[in-house]
Each structure stands twice: as structure tokens, then as C-alpha cells.
């Protein structure tokens, strides 16, 4: 079942490449594929919740066959509570991205092929339980992104695409060293067996391997000071790719950080938690302050991502515990923040793309009064913006609350600063909304219309996801908590009294 969800988009991409010619046909086919993929993801989520199917070592839906015997590399897939919501998120945003790509007219065939390959790669990252397989999917995602940004992007797209590639490759280079060092210390690439491996005799000092893994994931998350690729890549990428990039690709970093870096080296994570907390608060504040200064709508949303992903790292920094107790709240908050940021920022990029398509500008000072031209888009934008600043009743509130609850006891002052960043967030979101959508109606936007039915589909889907999780967060947070249980247990042994 997991193989199906991983390779279905890839096979479909092959079908598009070989069999389909007509642009409209390709679009309809790709839409159908992503909708089916979402159905498959929901099915996996449900099966995971109600039944124990093929359970091995806490992992469900496991598939495990030997792949490359000479190096002990296995084709090993499985999901637990940590990965299953992210698989769902990938499928959801994959569908939204396909819908958002309806207006693509340039080299349509290649575009959808790469978009589907990208989905395979990202899904593969979340379900791989073999370190090399994980790494292969991790790297596989680079090529589609490179092409999608540099062919269908805007602005300095080739520069941005290359920057994205080099940053990620450098980060993953260190991760690769870490993975190899682990393999030759323990003789296994199995991510489940490697949990809590730091006690074993390792080829390199445990702190070094932890640092290697952390650097690889920090580039992806991204964490200040290795975040500089993100604003460029986001701003120059086409809408659908920004949705995927912000929505799920950044989550690969958070996921890897929790499953590999913290899961394998709980003690080292606790030792360096102060550093994580400092980096997190810098990312949060720096991201927020820089966001306020942005005049490009898309760049603004991009920078806000840096700030929001800082909360993920902050949640992870709570692993050190307080008073001898590590509670699961902070980590669950980090995981929740990944999920909710995926839906919220995905939605923000989606509406930014629509605004640009219709008003032909992203320059905020040039805008104004757009709400009367495009009421639906304005309302959705407002909703997404409010969710982004953490309004109660939206999913953004839940995840940020969890992060703060989890970290306040541990990092009191830092958390207080992070809470302050919410004010900044409110500032830039509301100010941006006010400048772009309200105020007097401008004559040059006279002919600008509202959303079409087709464009509304992904918006409705994402708004629904935001509201459902906002009102009843347990639907996702319980699953995350379940998946994080073993990690929290192992952290408990090293908790600071």
C-alpha cells in the first residue's frame, strides 16, 4: 500500500511522458492522479488509525525486502504516527498544487511530469525506514525542484534554483556522512533499529554525527543562518511549486530532525538543546522582523515561513525537559506546527498566486482595494492570514499554543520572546492585508475578477483542513503524540532534574 502511494505519481508521470500529448488531457490526467493519491493517503490514514496491519517495531504497513545485498540496503517502508499525517499533508498539497497549475501553458507536459516526480520523492522521504532509501528520496526531490523553479519560475529563477540545489546538496552531504558513519558503527541502515543508537560504540563521536545530521536538516527546515536560499527559491518559483516547497519540502527537515537527529541521539539533543533554542528564537524573531519590511507579497509569505519554522525548532528544543520530566507537548507542538504551517502557508501561497495572476502585480504598495474586486479571495486570504498569526479556532493557534506550552517551563525567557513574535506576525499580516485588499478601490484594477470554481477547489480543501484541525486538533495531534511516544520515552532517561 505504501509502495502504491509512493510510486503511483511516478508511474503516472511516465504515462504522461510517453502517451499523452494534448495539454488539456495532461492537466485532467494529472488532476485525477493527485485526487486519487489523496484518496489513497486518506485510506492509509484510516487504516493506520483503525487497524494494525503489518506491524513491525511500532511501524505499520511495513514492506521490507532486500534491495542491494552488497551494502545491506533494504527496500523498507513503513509509517508510524509521526509520518502518517505528513503523508496525508503531502497528498493534500500535491492535489492543491495540481489544481493551482491549471493555468500553466508553457511546456505543459514536462511541468506535470516534474510535479508528479516531486510528489513521489517527498512521499518517499516520509515513509522510508532505510537510511539510504530515505537519502535517495531526499536527493531525488532536487531535480524536479531545479527544473520547476528554473523553467517555470520568474525573476532570477536560474540563480534561485541553483542556490537551492547547492544549499541542499551541501546539507545532505553532511547528512550522508552521518548515515554512513552510523552504518559502519552498527551494521544497519534500519531507521527503527537506529533509534537511541548513541549509546553504541560509534566510528565518529556521537556529537559529530548528531551535528552532521542536524546540519542536513537545518538547511531544509530552514534555520538561521542557513535559510538564505528560501526567500529566493520561494519568490521565484511558480505558485504550485511554492505551495509544495513551503507546504511539504520544509517539513522534510523537521521530520528528519525529529526522527533521525533527536530519535537517534536523544542525549546529544538534550545536551545541545540550548543551542537549538537560541537558533530557533533567532529564526523566529529575525524572520518576523525581516518579513515586516517586505513589499513583495510572495517574498513576505516566504520570510514568514522562516519565522514559523522557527517554532518547530523551538518545540524540538524542549526535549531537554524541566524538573526531571520531559513532556510530549513541545515535540507534539513542533510536529503539529509542521502540519498546520503546511496547510496555512500552502493556502497563502495559493492566494498570492491567484492575486498575481489576476492583478498582475505582487508589489504591495501598488495594490489596494482588491477586496471589492475579489471578495472570495480576500476572505480566504484573511482567513489564512489570521490562521498564520494564530487566531483561536484556526489550526495555527493550536500548534503555536502547544509549542509554547511545551517550551515555557524549559526555556522561559526564550518562549516569552517567541510569544512576542506573534505580535510581529499580527503586525505584518494585518498590515499587508490592509494595504493590499482594503482602502479605496483603484481604477486600474477595474476589470480584475474573482476566483473561478476550479481555483476554489484547493482553497476550500485547505480552509477545511485549517478549520477542522483548529476546532478538533486531536484528529492529528493524537496521531503525532502516538508516534512521538518512543522518542519521548527515550528522552525521559536524560531529562534535566
Amino acid at each position: 500500500m505504501l509502495s502504491a502511494i509512493v510510486f503511483f505519481p511516478l508511474i503516472s508521470a511516465g504515462i504522461i511522458l510517453v502517451l499523452l500529448r494534448d495539454a488539456r488531457q495532461i492537466k485532467v490526467f494529472a488532476l485525477a492522479v493527485t485526487v486519487l493519491e489523496l484518496a489513497l493517503a486518506i485510506a492509509i490514514f484510516v487504516v493506520f488509525r483503525v487497524e494494525d496491519y503489518n506491524v513491525v517495531d511500532n511501524m505499520e504497513l511495513v514492506e521490507d525486502v532486500s534491495w542491494i545485498a552488497a551494502l545491506d540496503i533494504r527496500y523498507h517502508l513503513g509509517v508510524d504516527g509521526l509520518s502518517v499525517p505528513l503523508v496525508l499533508l503531502t497528498a493534500l498539497l500535491g492535489m492543491c498544487a495540481a489544481f493551482a497549475s491549471w493555468s500553466v501553458t508553457h511546456r505543459v507536459k514536462e511541468y506535470f511530469v516534474w510535479l508528479l516526480v516531486l510528489q513521489t520523492a517527498v512521499t518517499g522521504v516520509f515513509v522510508s525506514l532505510d537510511a539510504v532509501l530515505f537519502f535517495i528520496f531526499w536527493e531525488l526531490e532536487l531535480l524536479p525542484m531545479y527544473f520547476l523553479i528554473s523553467i517555470w519560475g520568474s525573476g532570477r529563477r536560474e540563480y534561485s534554483a541553483m542556490k537551492f540545489i547547492i544549499f541542499t546538496l551541501l546539507g545532505s552531504a553532511f547528512m550522508f556522512v552521518g548515515i554512513l558513519a552510523l552504518y559502519f558503527s552498527t551494521g544497519t541502515f534500519n531507521l527503527v533499529e537506529l533509534q537511541g543508537v548513541e549509546g553504541a560504540r560509534l566510528l565518529l563521536p556521537a556529537g559529530a554525527i548528531f551535528a552532521f545530521l542536524f546540519i542536513g536538516f537545518a538547511v531544509k527546515l530552514p534555520v538561521w543562518p542557513v535559510h538564505t536560499w528560501l526567500p529566493d527559491a520561494h519568490t521565484d518559483a511558480p505558485t504550485a511549486v511554492s505551495v509544495m516547497l513551503a507546504g511539504v519540502l520544509l517539513k522534510m527537515g523537521g521530520y528528519g530532525m525529529i526522527r533521525l537527529a533527536v530519535g537517534m541521539f536523544p542525549g546529544r539533543a538534550q545536551e545541545y538543546a540550548w543551542l537549538l533554542a537560541v537558533l530557533a528564537i533567532i529564526s523566529v524573531l529575525y524572520g518576523a522582523v525581516v518579513t515586516i519590511r517586505q513589499t513583495d507579497l510572495k517574498r513576505l509569505v516566504a520570510f514568514s515561513s522562516i519565522s514559523h519554522m522557527g517554532y518547530v525548532l523551538l518545540g524540538i528544543a524542549s526535549v531537554v525537559g524541566a524538573g526531571g520530566v520531559v513532556n510530549a507537548v513541545g515535540l507534539t507542538g513542533a510536529a503539529m506546527q509542521m502540519f498546520t504551517h503546511g496547510t496555512i502557508t500552502g493556502l497563502l501561497f495559493l492566494v498570492v498566486g491567484l492575486v498575481y495572476e489576476k492583478a498582475h502585480t505582487r508589489h504591495i504598495p501598488d495594490m489596494g482595494g482588491l477586496a471589492s474586486n475579489m471578495p472570495v479571495i480576500a476572505v480566504v486570504f484573511l482567513l489564512a492570514g489570521l490562521a498564520s498569526l494564530g487566531l483561536p479556532g484556526t489550526s495555527g493557534f493550536v500548534s503555536e499554543l502547544l509549542v509554547f506550552l511545551g517550551t515555557f517551563e524549559v526555556w522561559g525567557w526564550i518562549t516569552a520572546l517567541a510569544v512576542f513574535a506573534i505580535v510581529l506576525t499580527a503586525g505584518y499580516i494585518l498590515w499587508m492585508l490592509q494595504r493590499a485588499f482594503f482602502g479605496p478601490q483603484l481604477p486600474r484594477f477595474a476589470g480584475v475578477g474573482d476566483t473561478t470554481a476550479l481555483e476554489a477547489v484547493p482553497m476550500v480543501a485547505l480552509v477545511a483542513a485549517i478549520m477542522v484541525v483548529g476546532v478538533y486538533p486531536a484528529v492529528v495531534s493524537d496521531v503525532f503524540a502516538l508516534g512521538l511516544e518512543p522518542i519521548v520515552t527515550s528522552l525521559q532517561q536524560g531529562a534535566v532534574p
Binding site: W67, I68, A69, A70, L71, V132, I136, E139, L140, L142, L143, Y146, F147, S150, I151, E158, M162, I165, I166, L169, L170, S172, A173, F174, F176, V177, L180, A181, Y183, F184, L203, L204
Partner: protein
């Protein structure tokens, strides 16, 4: 020479005979198209003979048949290289079908020289004596020098001359090194050297003795020229750029494979006793080659020159596998360095040949080898462009390609041999190389072409192109079988 020796030597002998037949065909028949057909079809004979030898060896690990006074060893290691060289020479001849018609003189000799050189490479992998190694090396190099100058224009002539002079110089250095090793051990036979070294080493001195030290370093320098490792790489860019492109392809793949084969054999067998000393030497050369190759490649505008520097970088990755010796590996486990090198050579052969074949086809039409002249090839020659792009991705080492699996294998070997620093240098270098490999992809797919005319394709070279392209993918997805064979082949060295 007994009949058994002839049997052991039969692949090389039949290949040399094939070279003569091709030259005779050239003199007898007017139709020059026959030459490539005879060469490629004729390769079936040495391949069949090698297969017979392989099956004759049986399943025993380390099985070996020796002949010609113990200087020739037929084992799975040498046969592995033979298959590789034969495959490469066949593909290169197929790819040069359109290209040779541009060369006005001596098409027969072109094929003949290529086959002679290949027989030298095959011999190189199979000899176990310093003197016969030297002879095989010359048999490899002299035809290559002639081939490099085959175009007879100023650049090609310069390439041939440079190759001839520098390979003569490196041979001299190598010979001097061999003489010193002989002076120290009193034998030229590899097993004999190992035996003598076991008795007469002074552990307080690097390499056990200063004389031997100088000798081994000179041997390293001599071989370093052949595999284009830094700091013995200066001939590479000019020769690669000036030589006819199929010859460059051949040079970059086959002669490199043969060079690594002989390095593995000499150092793992003869100098096994002092492996800890030379392993450090190779690790440093490896780091230097990767770094220099990659950094200089970034600045190149000519695609053949860029691939020349890229081949230097890849020599560096391969040397990481050579440095991963058994003595560094934890007790009770074996080194996977040599098998990693062998696998990498196969993957690199497919990848580099695919790249060069696409370049041959494209630059035949455009008449230029500048990277900028590949603009818009994604539209003008979709199939060629896709294979060239895939080859670039494989050279860069992103899955699902042979290049990724090769790097995974050699870096694993280095990590297992406690060379973590070298792995870090290697992976950072791979990341840097994205800049220049992806530039080719970018130019092909994101820049508008000068004219829209389709690039014509010739059928036979296209078959070679597809084979190599599929090879990259197959090794990237299912590397298992070749890795197993490489493991068996490398087992001979321990």
C-alpha cells in the same frame, strides 16, 4: 610458450588479430562502412573466450590460472576489467561511425589502433610482473597517442604530441620507481615482492626503507599520470580537448579503468605489507584530485575541457576507494574498497560514454564544442539532450543513477576504513560539482537555440547512446548484480 599460455592469452591475442583483420579489410574493400561492422562483430570472439575462461575458473573465491612463467594471471579480477574494456571499445567504435567519415585518412588504422590499445589494457589488468606491466602499459599508450593526433589539425596534433611526450616521461618515472623496487627486493614478480617485503622491513621508517619509499612514490607518480590524478594531471585538459571526441571518450573511460586495475593489483598484492603507508598517500591524492578537478571545472567554457577536469575529480573519488585498505578496516571484516572501485569504473564508463556520445552527435551538427552551443538542445535534439542531461546527473551523483551508487559504494568503503575526513571532502566536492554539471542541463533546457533545425541522428551511434543511457539507469536502480560480480572480482586481491 605452451599451448596453455596461448589459451590464457587468447582474449588479448584474438583482439590483436582482429585489429590486423580490420586493417586488411580496409586495404581490400572499398566500402569503409564494413570496418565498424567487422570490428564490433569481431569483438564477439574475445568476449566469448573471456567467458570461457571465466567459467573455467569455477566458483572458488580467489581462483587463479597463471601462465608465461607466472607473469600472466587469469582471474576474475582481470576478466572483469577485460569485459569492461571490451564493452567500452565496442561502444566507442559504434559511436564513431558517423565521426570517422569526417576523418579523411586511414579509417582502417583508426579501428585497428583502438583494438590494439584495448588489448594492451586487457593485458595490463592481467600481468603480475613489473616488466610485463610496463610493456602492457606501452602497448596501451602508443596507439592512444596516434589516435589523439588522428584528426591532423593543429589542436589534434598538439594533443597527440603532448600525450606522447608526457606519457613517455611518466613511463620513465615509473620505470625508475620499478627499478628501485627491484633493487630493494631483488624480484620483479608481485608475489615475490610481497614475500621479500615481509622479511626486510624496518618499522621505524616510512615504507620500511627510504629506498623503497622513493621507489613506491615514483610508481605512484607514474600510475598517477595514467589515471589523471592531481598533481600529475596537466596533460589531461589539452589532450581531451584536442583529440577526436570518440578517442577522448575512450581515453577517459577505458584507459582509466586499466590504470586503476593495475594500481589495485600492484598495491594490494605487492605492497600489501606497507599498505598503511601508501594508503595515506592515496588519500591525500584523492582529496587533491577531487578538489582541484572540481574547482577548475567550474571555470570551463568548452564541454570537453570541462569533462577533462571532471574526469580528474572522478579519479579523486575512485582513489578514495583505493585508499580504503584492509589494514584500516576493523578486525574480522574485509575492505570493500577494491570492489567499490570496480563498480564505480563500470558506472563511470556508462556515464561518461553516454555524455561523450551525445556530445559527438550534437557537435557533429553544430561544429562547436562550447557549452553555449548546446543552447536549446532540449528542443532541437530531445533524445540526445535527455541522455546528456541524465549523464550529467549521474556524474553529479544524484539518484537514481549509476553515479550515485558508485559514490555510495566508494564513500562507504572509505568510511569503513576510518577515512571519515576523506568522505567529508568527497561529499562536499560532489555538492560543489552541481554548479558546472547542471550548467550544461540549464543551457540545453532553459536557453533559446540559435536556430531551430533538428539535429540529425545516425542510427548506429544512437544505439550506443541508448545502451549507455539505459546502463546508467539500470545500475542506479538495480546495482546488486554488478556489485556482486565486483565483489567476486576484488576477492582475488586479498
Amino acid at each position: 610458450m605452451t599451448l596453455h599460455d596461448v589459451y590464457l592469452l587468447s582474449p588479448e591475442l584474438s583482439l590483436a588479430a582482429l585489429g590486423l583483420v580490420v586493417i586488411l579489410v580496409d586495404m581490400t574493400f572499398r566500402n569503409k562502412g564494413l570496418l565498424a561492422i567487422v570490428s564490433v562483430v569481431g569483438l564477439a570472439v574475445p568476449i566469448a573466450l573471456s567467458l570461457i575462461l571465466w567459467s573455467d575458473l569455477g566458483g572458488e573465491p580467489g581462483a587463479q590460472m597463471t601462465g608465461i612463467f607466472g607473469t600472466l594471471a587469469v582471474d576474475k579480477f582481470s576478466l572483469f576489467i577485460k569485459f569492461l574494456v571490451l564493452g567500452v571499445v565496442g561502444l566507442v567504435i559504434m559511436s564513431s561511425v558517423g565521426y570517422v567519415s569526417n576523418i579523411r585518412f586511414f579509417p582502417g588504422e583508426y579501428h585497428g589502433l583502438m583494438l590494439f590499445s584495448a588489448s594492451g589494457m586487457m593485458l595490463l589488468a592481467a600481468t603480475t610482473d613489473l616488466i610485463s606491466i610496463y610493456i602492457a602499459l606501452e602497448l596501451t599508450s602508443l596507439p592512444l597517442a596516434a589516435l589523439a593526433a588522428f584528426q591532423r589539425d593543429s589542436r589534434s596534433t598538439e594533443a597527440g604530441m603532448k600525450f606522447l611526450l608526457l606519457s613517455a616521461m611518466s613511463s620513465a618515472v615509473l620505470l625508475y620507481g620499478m627499478a628501485l623496487v627491484y633493487g630493494f627486493t631483488g624480484t620483479t614478480h608481485l608475489d615475490g615482492i610481497l614475500e621479500r617485503l615481509g622479511q626486510a622491513l624496518d618499522p621505524s621508517v616510512p615504507f620500511g626503507s627510504y629506498g623503497l619509499f622513493i621507489g613506491v612514490v615514483m610508481v605512484v607518480a607514474g600510475f598517477g599520470f595514467k589515471i589523471s590524478a592531481v598533481p600529475f594531471q596537466m596533460w589531461v585538459p589539452d589532450v581531451y580537448e584536442g583529440a577526436p571526441t570518440p578517442v577522448t571518450a575512450y581515453l577517459s573511460v577505458a584507459s582509466k579503468a586499466a590504470g586503476f586495475a593495475v594500481i589495485l593489483r600492484v598495491f594490494y598484492v605487492a605492497f600489501g605489507e606497507i599498505s598503511l603507508d601508501w594508503s595515506g598517500l592515496f588519500a591525500v591524492l584523492s582529496a587533491l584530485s577531487m578538489t582541484v578537478g572540481n574547482l577548475v571545472a567550474i571555470a570551463q567554457r568548452n564541454i570537453k575541457r570541462m569533462l577533462a577536469y571532471s574526469t580528474i575529480a572522478h579519479a579523486g573519488y575512485l582513489l578514495a576507494g583505493v585508499a580504503a585498505i584492509a589494514a584500516r578496516v576493523p578486525e574480522g571484516e574485509s575492505s570493500i574498497g577494491p570492489s567499490g572501485v570496480l563498480f564505480y569504473l563500470v558506472g563511470y564508463a556508462f556515464t561518461n560514454l553516454a555524455a561523450f556520445f551525445a556530445i559527438i552527435a550534437i557537435s557533429n551538427r553544430t561544429g562547436s564544442e562550447m557549452i553555449s552551443s548546446f543552447a536549446g538542445m532540449g528542443r532541437r535534439a530531445p533524445l540526445l539532450a535527455i541522455v546528456l542531461a541524465f549523464a550529467m546527473v549521474s556524474l553529479l551523483g544524484i539518484p537514481p543513477t549509476a553515479g550515485f551508487m558508485g559514490k555510495l559504494y566508494v564513500f562507504s568503503a572509505a568510511m569503513k576504513a576510518d577515512l571519515a575526513w576523506l568522505v567529508v571532502v568527497g561529499v562536499v566536492n560532489s555538492a560543489v560539482s552541481a554548479y558546472y554539471y547542471l550548467r550544461v542541463v540549464r543551457v540545453m533546457y532553459m536557453t533559446d537555440p540559435e536556430d531551430e533545425e533538428r539535429v540529425p541522428v545516425v542510427r548506429v551511434p544512437m544505439v550506443a547512446l541508448y545502451l549507455t543511457g539505459l546502463g546508467i539507469l539500470a545500475l542506479g536502480v538495480f546495482p546488486g548484480p554488478i556489485m556482486n560480480v565486483a565483489e567476486k572480482a576484488a576477492g582475488v586481491l586479498f
